[in-house]
């Protein structure tokens, strides 16, 4: 496998459920050696995309390939190279973790059991209990071990850190980074941005079945958007702030204003200081959540049609 081989590649991937367009003309390519974050709110099509490339469901149009292998015709070969953590993980409740991992190891073949032991030590997983008796976080650990234990070339994970406590999330993120450093491909869907922020090299944003953007994480951050909180001696008007170029999402509460800003700070400060008595300024780098929401707005006109079809709330209702 050379660096040039795409880990996952989709071309015009489309999936309709009756009238519902779950996935519309999705084109993306992920590389080996990178962690690819797949971001979107609940119901945006993340799981549909993953289930389609795994041949669980069949696309209405378009194709997908993993490691250059067609996701439908060569699925058997693909399955030998992937690890998978399904979203909303369900396992066999009556099997112990040990039996369950043995089952999947037998199906897969060639699993080195010392990997399982190392992973379960690392995640502090209890393999002796029945899976149905475990808490959801501990059950998730079994699912993760199951995906990592065969050391697959491509890891596909749908909301993998669900239920894990923060300590374990960090451990899991470290595992993901190590995996990518070994030249494997990691595809990770999530609706929590902080997680992706910590592990992903590149991020795709999906919304109502449409791919909104693909960016390197650095590029996302370099949008350099900041959150600014201004406090004044007296009441102010939002319109004054909104008139400044680069200002958006203004909310004013009497003498306090909050806004997003991606211009020169001097311009903003000059504009408000001219009109009002500025008491305090507090500013920080916007997190991905805020950038994310900004993206939604920018792309909202393009996918307006799809919004109407699915009947979900329009992005304008999403406020910061």
């Amino acid at each position: 496998m050379t660096e040039s081989t795409a880990a996952i590649r989709t071309e015009g991937l489309t999936k309709h459920y009756g009238d519902v367009k779950a996935l519309v003309d999705l084109n993306l390519e992920t590389r080996l050696g990178e962690v690819y974050g797949f971001l979107g709110p609940n119901g945006s099509g993340k799981t549909t995309m993953i289930r389609t490339i795994l041949d669980e469901i069949r696309p209405t149009a378009g194709t997908a390939s993993i490691l250059g292998l067609d996701s439908h015709r060569q699925v058997q070969e693909i399955r030998q190279h992937i690890g998978y953590v399904p979203g909303d993980l369900a396992l066999y409740p009556k099997l112990t973790g040990h039996d369950l991992l043995t089952y999947f190891a037998n199906l897969r073949g060639g699993v080195d059991w010392s990997n399982v032991r190392a992973l379960s030590d690392r995640l502090d997983a209890d393999l002796t209990k029945k899976v149905g008796d475990l808490s959801s976080g501990n059950r998730q650990k079994i699912g993760l071990i199951q995906a990592f234990m065969s050391r697959p070339d491509v890891l596909i994970m749908d909301e993998p850190s669900a239920g894990l406590d923060p300590l374990m999330q960090r451990e899991f993120q470290a595992m993901v980074r190590e995996f990518a450093a070994e030249g494997r491909g990691v595809f990770l869907s999530s609706h929590t941005l902080s997680e992706v922020q910590r592990v992903a090299d590149r991020v795709a944003i999906i919304r109502r079945g449409h791919l909104v953007a693909v960016e390197a994480l650095e590029a996302l951050r370099s949008k350099a958007m900041r959150r600014v909180v201004l406090e004044f001696a007296g009441p102010i008007e939002a319109s004054v702030l909104e008139a400044v170029e680069g200002v958006r999402d203004v909310s004013v509460d009497n003498r306090r204003a909050e806004l997003s800003f991606d211009g020169k700070m001097a311009v903003l400060l000059r504009a408000v200081a001219e009109r009002y008595d500025l008491v305090d300024v507090n500013t920080r780098e916007a997190d991905l959540e805020e950038i994310f929401l900004t993206y939604y707005r920018d792309e909202s006109s393009e996918s307006r049609e799809a919004d109407d079809a699915t009947g979900s709330p329009s992005p304008d209702e999403v406020t910061v």
């Binding site: 669980e56 369900a90 199906l107 073949g109």
Partner: protein, 551 residues
């Protein structure tokens, strides 16, 4: 006292099942009466009194009372009781297992009120089903212009409702005390089946005849309410017991810690952990269970398999030989009756050991036993994985969909063969013990045929679950088809016009040739095997083409 929201939700969850059951019962009633009014009934009315009573046929029986006998006395009563059991076991234990009871009880409502509301819903739905059946019983004869004579349909229906609720409350009580849904429905259905057969068989043995009073089914139709009207003493016994169960349920649910959705330890686990038994049970229930999908499916239902095989071996195999020897003299009189009558009773002749075994063991119980294990395995292996949402993960492993279907079919075939073999050994054993001299080749042929016949329905369940991924469609669809082909095959041959239609059912290729006497009908076996193969092929193709369901 009544919580309206709980009551209406329970009704809403259940009305579809009850509606389907009611419509089916009404259609069957129409069908049964149409068939009976088409055939010459003198074969029944000329039966000697003893035999007629045994078959539950009233004096001067007509098309109507015969239909009522089948539809109310057997099919309708079992259906409504089964639905009540399903509701009773779901009401507390079911919600505990799915983890929803905690949410339900977090709403500042007492456990008593929740359970009372669920009881009320069960009673209401049972009444709805009974009313549909009652209306059909009155209307169908009018539609078909059949004379109904002196029959007490309303009285029968009173017995039927009280009987159904008895089993429903029994299931509810067991569920409320244990929180174990399988145990609740298992105990109630077990009591129902055992008492149904006891009431049918015990009167054949004079010295044991009085024992039937121990079995609840006796209080359903032991007094022949269709002929004699309501027997209030019997109603009081059944109703009183049902009331006691409901009181038990109310006490039980209030006294106990609620269970979560956790799995808990089974008896096998405990035996496996015990130093005296761990080696044996590690082998039984250890790592080998997860070697391959077919091994896993095979071990998933091994409890059910063992119980079914042992029942067929012991009760339906071994025991029936001595049983026949004990009643041989009493049933000798039966040999004088026209073949059609006996054919109706299950396709055999009570007066010969072959006929006795055919009626008691092979005509109904053996196919049902094999169907139970194969349908459970067949539906569980594909649709079960999908409804538990584990199929996606399973198929992310290097296993082809076609291979998975074939492995499930393999597990199912082994199940059928084990129950078939247990039946064979049991029947041969029973014959040897009682010295009634059944032909071993005949028993072998019949056991092979019943295995194939049961597999037809197991494969149907597999094909339906491959096509739809839905447990309910696979299980209830298959049961519906099995019931329909059974009725077609047992009634249509009695008519002149439709007698040829039976050959379109698999049932026709099972016992028609009298394999217990005549040995293996290779042609019939080939037909059954071909149906099995065709359904398996269909399952592979259908599963290959479809989107996997997610829950």
């Amino acid at each position: 006292m009544l919580l309206q929201s709980v009551f209406t939700k329970t009704i809403r969850d259940r009305w579809l099942g009850m509606t389907i059951a009611s419509v089916t019962l009404v259609l069957f009633m129409l069908y049964a009466m149409a068939v009976y009014s088409d055939i010459d009934l003198s074969i029944y009315t000329n039966l000697p009194e003893g035999i007629r009573e045994l078959m539950g046929i009233p004096e001067g029986a007509d098309a109507a009372s015969l239909s009522y006998n089948v539809m109310l006395g057997f099919v309708g009563a079992i259906t409504l009781a089964g639905l009540a059991v399903s509701q009773g076991s779901a009401s507390i234990a079911g919600e505990e297992r799915s983890g929803t009871l905690g949410i339900l009880l977090a709403n500042r409502k007492s456990r008593t009120r929740v359970l009372v509301s669920k009881m009320a819903a069960m009673v209401a739905l049972t009444l709805v089903g009974a009313l549909a059946l009652l209306a059909a019983s009155h209307l169908v004869p009018i539609v078909l212009a059949v004379e109904i004579g002196e029959t007490h349909i309303n009285a029968m229906m009173v017995h039927l409702v009280v009987n159904a609720l008895f089993y429903g409350f029994l299931a509810m009580a067991v569920g409320a005390w244990t929180g174990n849904r399988s145990m609740a429905s298992g105990v109630a259905v077990g009591v129902m089946i055992v008492s149904f057969f006891a009431v049918g068989l015990l009167p054949l043995v004079e010295s044991l005849a009085d024992l039937v009073r121990v079995f609840p089914w006796y209080y359903y139709d032991g007094s022949e309410p269709l002929i004699n009207g309501v027997d209030w003493r019997h109603i009081a016994v059944l109703g009183g017991a049902g009331g006691l169960f409901s009181a038990f349920a109310l006490v039980g649910v209030n006294r106990r810690d609620l269970r979560g959705p956790a799995v808990g330890d089974t008896l096998l686990d405990r035996l496996g952990a015990h130093p005296l038994t761990d080696q044996i049970f590690d082998r039984l229930a250890g790592n080998t269970r997860v070697a391959r999908p077919w091994v896993k499916t095979f071990s998933d239902h091994q409890g059910l398999l063992i119980i079914t095989a042992v029942t067929m071996f012991g009760m339906m195999g071994l025991l029936m030989g001595p049983m026949y020897a004990a009643i041989e003299a009493d049933v000798a009189a039966l040999s004088e009756f026209p073949e059609e009558v006996l054919a109706l009773a299950g396709g055999g002749d009570f007066s010969t050991p072959e006929g006795f075994y055919e009626i008691e063991t092979f005509s109904l119980m053996a196919p049902v036993a094999i169907m139970i294990v194969t349908i459970v395995a067949g539906a569980g292996g594909l649709a079960g994985e999908e409804s538990r949402r584990t199929m996606g993960l399973l198929l992310a492993n290097p296993i082809r969909r076609s291979r998975l279907v074939l492995e499930q079919a393999l597990a199912m075939t082994l199940y059928a063969m084990i129950v078939g073999a247990a039946t064979f050994v049991g029947v041969v054993g029973g014959s040897v013990i009682a010295g009634i001299g059944l032909s071993v080749a005949g028993v072998a042929a019949t056991s092979v045929l019943v295995t194939l016949f049961g597999l037809v329905f197991g494969m149907l369940a597999l094909a339906v679950s491959a096509a739809t991924g839905r447990m309910a469609a696979a299980v209830y669809g298959t049961i519906g088809v099995a019931l329909a082909t059974h009725l077609v095959n047992s009634f249509l041959p009695l008519t002149d016009r439709f007698s040829g239609w039976a050959r379109w059912t698999p049932n026709h290729y099972y016992l028609t040739s009298d394999p217990l006497v005549n040995g293996m009908p290779w042609g019939d076996a080939a037909v059954l095997a071909a149906i099995v193969a065709a359904l398996l092929g269909a399952a592979v193709v259908l599963f290959e083409r479809r989107d996997i369901r997610q829950g």
